[in-house]
Every structure is written in C-alpha cells, then in structure tokens.
Amino acid sequence: MERVSKNFGRKTALNNVGFTSFPGEIHSLIGENGAGKTTLMKVLSGLVVPDRGNIRFKGKEASILTPSDARKEGVGMVHQESLLIPAHTVLENLCLGNRFGSKGNVLPYRKVRIKLEELRDKTGLWMKEDKLIEDLSIGERQKVGILKLLLRDPEILIFDEPTSILAPQEVADLMSLFRRLSRDGKTVIFITHKLNEVIEISDRITVLKQGQVVCRTIPEETDVKKLSKVMIGEEVGANLANSGPVGATVAKLTSVKALGVLGEKKLMDVNLVVRRGEMVGIAGVEGNGQKELAEILSGLRRPDGGTVQLPREIGFIPDDRGGEALIGSFGISENVALGLVKDARFRWGPAMLWGKIEHYVRELITRYGIIATNHQQKVAELSGGNQQKVVLARELKRSQDLLIARNPTQGLDVKATSFFYKQMMQLLGRDFQRDGTEQQAGIVLISSDLEEILMFADEIYVLYNGGLLGVNKCKASKEFIGRLMLAGESGRVMSVKGDGCHEGP
C-alpha cells in the first residue's frame, strides 16, 4: 500500500501511510487507540475507500472498492466482534457466504465438510460442526471466524485484536496457528495492543501514530520498552503501588447462588469478601458465570440463594461495551449522564441540570483524552478505545465504595491503560500524592487478561463453571491459573481443594 490517506470529516485518520508485507511473514501493526490501525486494514479489505493512495498485490495495481474486490485479491479479515449467527450451527455459519461453486439455493454442506477436514490436517484447527454458535465460548467463536476465513483460502489474513478476549492457553494456540499459516506462505497481519505478543511472534513490526507510520522495525532490534516509547513515550504499569493498607469489609457474598433463565445453575455457593483498599481479581474464561457474578456484585440482580451485602456507591464496567455500557445513538454527554440520573449534584428536583452536566463532561473529555469532535458526538462514531474511555470516565466517578470491572482495558492502548491503572490505584487509596484521608474503595476485577490480574490483585480467584476457586497468590504460577481457567475445556479436571495450591504436575 502506498501513500494511503483517509479523512473522516475534518479528522485525518490516515496520512500518507505506506505499508508493505511479504508472503509468509507475520506482520504486527500496533499503535494507540485511534492511531488508524483498523482504518488502514479496512482500506485493505475494501470496507473503507481511501481518499488517496494505491494498493498493489504482487506488483500489480489493484483497485479495491468493495469487500468482494478484496476477497478476489485474497484478502480476508477476522474482526474484533464475531459476525456469526448465534442460533445456527457451526457448519451453517461456515456455509454462509461461501458458495464453492454450488448452484441455486443449495448450501454446500458436503463441500465445506471436505474442506474442513483438509484444513484440520493442514492447520490442526477443528470445531465440532453441529454445535450451535451460542453454546460456544468467545475463543471458540473466534476459531469459527478463522475457519470461515480459511475456507476461502486467502493469501493475506488480517486479525484485528484477536487476543484481547482469550485465555493464555488459547493465545498460545493462536500464536502457533499464526506460525503454521506463515509457514504455508500466507501473510498474517496482526493488530494488537499487547507488546509482548508482538515481540514474541512478529517477523516485522509497523507502528502507527496519529495516522502516520512512525516506526518500522523487527523484533530483534527492539523490546517492549522501546516500542511503548515509540507509541506514546511511556511505560505500562510504571510507578504503581502494589499493596496498601486494607480497611473494613465493603462487600460480602455468602453462599450465593444464581440460576439462568431455564433454571440452570450459573453460580453455585459463591463466597467472597471485598475489603476497602483491596483488589480482588477473578480470572476465568468468559461464560463461566462472570455476567451473573458481576451483576450481583453491582446490585443489578438479586441472587437466587445466599446473602449479599453491598455498599451504596458502586461503579460497574460491563463487558459488553456496545450493548450494556453505552447507547450508540446518544452523544458522549448523554452517555455520561446515564450515570448521573440519580446524582443529586446534577439534578434540581426532577430536572436534569444539563448545563452543569455538559461542563462536567467537557472536563472528563480533556482528563481522559477522549478523541471526539465535541461532547455531543455520538458514541457510535467513536473508536472502540475512545468508547471505553467514556465508560471508564463515567464509572470511576461512581466507584466511591466499590468498583466492579469486567475486562476494563479491552481496546485501550498503552497510554489509556496505564492511566486507568493509576485511577484504580487512586480508588484503592494507594495514591502517594494524596494525604491518606481519602476514603478507600474496594475493587473486583473480573478479567480474562491474567497478566492484569497477576499484576494488581491482592486476592485471586478463578471462576470456573459457576464455582469460585481461591488461589494462593504467592504460590500459583501463571500457567497453573491458566490451566485452572480451562480445566473443563481441555477435559482435564484439576484436583482443586482449598486454596488450589495442591497441584500435582
């Protein structure tokens, strides 16, 4: 790609970007939120038409105006959110949009099955084809997405932040898939925020900043520190206190049970104590009861058994940004106001004090570095990372007693992540700049990002199949917790008793 430029309104998304990749290489594309990574790849895959610039494949000029043009050139993209139909089976989803020369309205089940077996032999990737998508974990859905792309046998595969939702073992699997693909002569383009993954896997690295290429390098010549410097000039997790004084109990769950719509058990006999100034980390693969636990902890839902003690001021960062955290058709102001409707400072009787709210929102936009045209811009028009910043800005403010955060740093770049970590430390009362009279809050971090949990949590639990297993922080290794998270998926049942440290192998 040469001299590609794209403007959205007055905002420049890409400015004279050149990007080259070769067959058989794994090329990482990194940069801050809104740096233009996704836009650049959307240009390549025909989802966005550039204002200027041209694209060449194997030396030949190509005009890519639509996704099907890109498909013809052998470009395919695995998106951040999976575009699968939940109520259909894996096979049906794979048949959708892949005709394989079959005529009329007949779905090419047989051909797809044969192709799947070929793929299994070649890449080791396999999914039970008659399973419903809605029964699959997020990691498995992603595999289906990858399979769907591989069926078309593309030359260039683009992965848009594929690892942010995966457990460590799943990430390792994905990495080895990347290697196999590149051995087969495919080009893998890997968009990510996680710099250690970049160093580990890439053949080459391109760093984007504010729509321009600021660095092209190879892993041998760089390291995580250098890369994050290039991206934003800061290191992650620097100057963060790891422990602090712990206060009174702020939330307590006693033998809590929760049932699903059909009466199935979602949570069983969960006991949890959160104290002020303490961060509790709950690791686990999505779909093991995280949603239910988070909703009970944030007071949104009553348990179907057991007792719950909660404080008054609770902030909640949900997992599903577009569905539960934000209203896409509303502006930034109104989305922040969603958290203020019951706040006496922003109300005068039944009336909302919009002037005051907007003033406050403008302040937040500056403080959190939210990139937007103004405070009324619809959040659907913001980039994923900036949307997450809006959520954080709103929820951190209401977390005076307790913060429940599910995958809070999803889609955030290094800078925004470290800003968020600092804010969390402040909530915990570990901020050195303050005099200590500040009230401390408790935090429950529910995340599939194990690194994050290991870095900050005072207490670590693993949520597996609705049960909460305590883990001894000092003894447990990352690999051990990782296996605990996946115990069911791999068929190995771990013998977990008490603090979970009596592990054999």
Partner: protein, 349 residues
C-alpha cells in the same frame, strides 16, 4: 451534531411529502381524475378560508396531535404501542360517562374532571398490555392491537345498551350538557379549547423528555434497554409501566377532548382510525414532539380537505386514506434512502 440531525429529519420529511405528491399524482392520473383539481380542492378545503382552516383542519388536527404525542412517547421509549385507538375509545367512554353524570357544576370543575377520567381510563386500558409485557414478557404489539378490538366492540355495546340515548333509537349516547363542553376559541368556527390543550401538551412533553431525569431515562430506554438497566441502574419494568401509562393516558385524554370539544356524544366510529393515523403523524415528525404539532395539522388538513375534494373534484373521500398510507410508506422509504446517501460520509474507525 444535534442541529445536523434536525436538518436531516426535516429533509427526510420534505422528501417524503414530495414522493407522496408524485405517487398520488400518478395514481390519480391512472384513475382518470385531474390531479390539479384534486390538490386544488384539497388545499381549498383545508386552508382556503378561515373557517376551513380553524373549523375543519385544526379541529381535525387536535385528536391527531394528542394521539400522535401518545405514540411518540411510546415509540421514543422503545414501546411499540399500536393500541392508541383502543385507549382513545376507553378515554371517550369514561369521558362521556362522566360528562353525562357529572351533574350541575361549573365548567372549570366538570371539564377537568372529564379530562382526568378520560386519561385514567386510557392509562388503565394500556395497563393490561403493560403488565403482560413486564410480568410475562408478551410483546406489546399484539396485545395492544387486540385491546383495540375489545374497545371498539365495547363502544358498540355501550351505545346500544347502558348509555344509549333516551329514546333508544340510535346507537349513540345523549349529548353532554353545555357546562361540560369546551369553549370555542375562534368565534364563528368550531375550534375549541382542545387545541390549546394540545399545544400545551406538546411544549410540556418536549420539556419533560429533554430536561427531566425520568424523561431522559425513558429516552435512554428507547436507545438501549440493556444499557439503561446496566449503566443507568434504572428499573426497566418500572420505566415500561410509566411509558405505557403515559402513552395510554394521552390517547385517552384525546378521547375526552373529542367528546368535550367536538362530538359531545359517543357513537360507533367516533375515530376514523386516528389511533393508526397517529402513528404516521409521529413517524413523519421523526418522533419529535414539536414537529408532531405540524404533522398533526398536516394530516388534519388531509382529512379536513377530503370532504371538499369529494364535492369539488368528485373523488371519493376514501382516497385520502390512501394518500395517508402513501405518506407513511414514503417516510419509511425516504428515511432509508437518506441514510444510504449519507453513509459514505459517516465516520468509522
């Protein structure tokens, strides 16, 4: 952005009207009528004179505006209340019953009493679908429509038995007493105080939805129920009930206003499907309360001008129902068309 959106909405509405005129012209030509004469008589009948504007168009517009507000309240909050017709009749039944039995009190007491009872009746009529939605999870589209038929047949029963006029001949109630009727506001025409009530409601609702926390939560629920529940910490069942009751009470109030302002009696077919036309009123207004005032008058003009059109151009008045339907279809079509035209310039990433 807000101003930009308003312009788009206005452009969509104007495009829809243009499309309607175009399609209607085609249909008229095919039917062997003169389009020019048709539109001329339609305009003359609705805007041509003081009497036709105040006495016909605006009088017709009153129930359309008020029910249009009821529909807007519901749709804005994500509740598909198609039952305004039934709620209107429930209000009309309660209104006429109170009107006939209130006794000899001054207007400033009995008229508000009619309004109040009509609103309460409309709200109660919407309560059953509301409870079915919040308690049982039954979609309101079907339940509210079915409640319309119940209300319509209830009116048939009431005007033949319990409340039939004194002589027991015609299927309608007696006229309510002078003291329960709304005063006219433009002398010499039939325009009654109900129009002022409608305007006040427009302003009040517009304020309520943009400036109060309850109104904001309702709007938020219309934007995303999950986000309102999770991030707004609002009780969705509670907000749904509020929406149903508010929407139903407005439609019911329209029934009360119609009884006290124009018909003075209840009879079958009091509403020629206003509960449904109001959906078009609300959608053409892009669910904007202020705009409902104007789209309500526009539809009032269409219906008001229908009589003149039949007399002057010899076109059956039912054509107007067809035109109304075309307006609705054109709105939906132009909305899509416009969004498609605007899409390439939308921001992504």
């Amino acid at each position: 952005m807000k101003g930009h959106d308003a312009w788009v909405a206005l452009a969509v509405s104007l495009l829809a009207l243009l499309l309607t005129v175009f399609l209607t012209t085609g249909a008229l030509v095919l039917g062997g009528y003169s389009p020019l004469l048709t539109f001329q008589s339609l305009l003359a009948g609705s805007f041509g004179s003081l009497d036709s504007f105040f006495g016909v168009t605006l009088v017709r517009a009153v129930p359309l505006i008020v029910i249009g507000l009821a529909v807007t309240v519901a749709f804005k909050s994500g509740v598909w209340n198609i039952g305004a017709e039934g709620q209107f009749y429930a209000g009309a039944i309660a209104g006429v019953w109170v009107g006939l039995n209130v006794g000899d009190y001054p207007s400033y007491f009995s008229v508000p009493l009619v309004f109040l009872s009509a609103s309460v009746a409309g709200a109660l009529w919407a309560l059953l679908p509301a409870l079915m939605r919040t308690r049982l999870g039954v979609g309101e589209v079907v339940t509210t429509i079915l409640m319309n038929f119940v209300a319509i047949h209830l009116v048939s029963y009431i005007v033949r038995w319990p409340l039939q006029e004194e002589r027991g001949v015609f299927p309608n109630t007696d006229l309510i007493d002078e003291s329960v009727r709304l005063p006219t506001i433009v002398p010499g025409t039939g325009l009654h105080l109900g129009f002022v009530v409608a305007v006040i409601l427009v302003i009040g609702l517009s304020f309520f939805f943009s400036n109060t926390s309850m109104g904001f939560q309702l709007r938020a629920m219309g934007g995303s129920q999950e986000a309102t529940r999770v991030s707004g910490r609002s009780s969705i069942p509670q907000l749904l009930i509020v929406t149903f009751l508010l929407s139903g009470s407005l439609a019911g109030l329209a029934g009360g206003i119609e009884i006290a302002g124009r018909s003075f009696a209840l009879y079958e077919g009091l509403s020629p499907g206003w509960g449904y036309t109001a959906i078009a009123v609300a959608l053409l207004a892009d669910l904007n309360f202020i705009a409902v005032l104007f789209t309500g008058i526009f539809f009032g003009a269409l219906e008001g001008g229908a009589g003149a059109m039949q007399r002057e151009a010899g076109i059956p008045a039912t054509w107007v129902a067809g035109i109304e339907a075309l307006v609705l279809l054109s709105v939906l079509a132009s909305d899509r068309l416009f969004r498609r035209l605007l899409r390439p310039r939308r921001k992504e990433d």
